[in-house]
Amino acid sequence: MSPDAATAEALLRAPVAEPAGRLRRGWRRVLRRPASAVGGVIVLFFASMALGAPWIATTDPLHTDWAKVRKAPTWANPLGTDDLGRDNLSRVVWGSRISMQAGVFSILLAISVGVPLGLVAGYYRGPLDQVIMRLTDAWLAFPFLILAIGLVTILGPSLTNVTVAIGLGATPTYVRLTRGLVLSTQAEDYVHAAWALGARDLRVMTRHILPNIFSALLVQATVAIPTAIIAEAVLSFLGLGVQPPSPSWGTMLNTAQQFLETAPWMAWWPGLAIFSLALSFNLAGDGLRDLLDPKDY
């Protein structure tokens, strides 16, 4: 047997991929970045809090108690009460549901609109690309928050509309990112091979390009979610988002601003909640970027 034939045979016998090995390598990489692992755990904690709010916060977040107006933290109300005697712990727990919903769904909307547009623009180039990119440029010229404010003005203040506004505001980033990734992926040999085998455009886009740019999109999503969470809080703080008495962290801070001297705890907890959720998403995103970075493979 010639050396070439022996090598080919050895290659054929060798396992094609070792998913368990890759998982182990990934896990080792996670352990190398404990801060990212902690970030991921805190994100899961907030997600569980959002899902399990009815069981975790047993007190009704909208229940007013005039005997408990602006009470400092006690055993009965560990985070104190607000200006209407409502339990802050309960409101922070229920607020996580609003923040997670706005953060995750707005980015899902941005992905579902931006990725197909970027894919088509990058794949076909030409006049279609020019039209999509000029629209994207124009959309990007509006500062994110000002665009969101403008859209909420048109749509009206509500959680759904805030989610749509933030999602549409974040869309151009995905159009640009996807287009750039498609342009570089198109030059790869496996895409040329697929074309040579007669694969249709839709198949090349969905089976060969999309899976290979997925990790970059996922990392971008992890980084974008905290921005979306903060944007929801800002819009609610300005009175353009979730409307009182719903327990949004932003509206809670808006109310707290009026009682800084007498009840500062009203401002601590919702702010700390936004900060820790955004920080943990950022930490987890950093870890994910390291984990999925193809340069490491």
Partner: protein
Amino acid sequence: MFDFLVQRTAISVVTLLVISLIVFTGVRMIPGDPARVMAGTDADAAGLEEIREKYGLKDPVPVQYLRWVGLALRGDLGESIRTRASVTGTVAKKLPITIQLAAFAILIAVGIAIPAGVLAAVRRNTFWDLLASGVSLCGVSVPNFWLGIMLILFFSVRLGWLPASGFVPLWESPLANLQRMLMPAFVLGTALAAVLMRQIRNSMIEVLSADYIRTARAKGLPGRAVVFRHAIRNGLIPVVTILGLQMGALMGGAVVTEQIFVVPGFGRLIVEAVFTRDYPLVQGVVLITASSYVLINLLVDVSYSVLNPRIRIRGATGES
């Protein structure tokens, strides 16, 4: 070079046209009759008709758009429904306040980010690097309106060192102006400092491993001279890029910061216009913001092409 300039300017003009279309369409999508909004709730049918005639609201939409663009090009963005003052005049009055706030914020951000980013890169993988990276991550994650509230709580309510809100023009009392601008500028500059710090660290790490730095070290130059005389010049190039890209975020940040600290600037004007449903003002303010962003980016691109010939070659070959 000329081709690049023409091509880049043409793209910006098209972008500005699309922006004007988006703004015009957006404002017309706001529910309600604009004539009713302008006239107020107690206006009769004749009054409404008069307003529709006066502002050309009965003309076909393309005619209304062309008239609006024509007037906007001459600097006439209409008048505020609430105050009856010209939109351009109102913006011209408010904009310098926000520019001053943004300039202070940039100064604070650069003042924090450059030393911290350079230190993190020079002392890579040490306690200082970890500290700078941690602070940077916190800076990106902290909601600036909460940071503002916390600063008011400590420095105004508890310690009484700084006024919690308000604005005094710089020429009236520089000290009072500085006292009132310090906290808002710090709040606005925090996120920018965090982003800058990360970029400077990465860029400095790259520069410090370049051949010319190795040569400088091999020649026996002391570490400080290598960093300050050779590395820092190239390592700080991203500062300009990031500042250009972050102008939008700075404008958005100003909206919230001015709201918390009651600074009567451009950001506060946007929120007031939205709340009072002052549509000509909303339309004008959003158009000015987006157009300035496009023009700033055009200037940044053109200045880059002057500094770096590779960019204009890439631009001329049609790559984007």
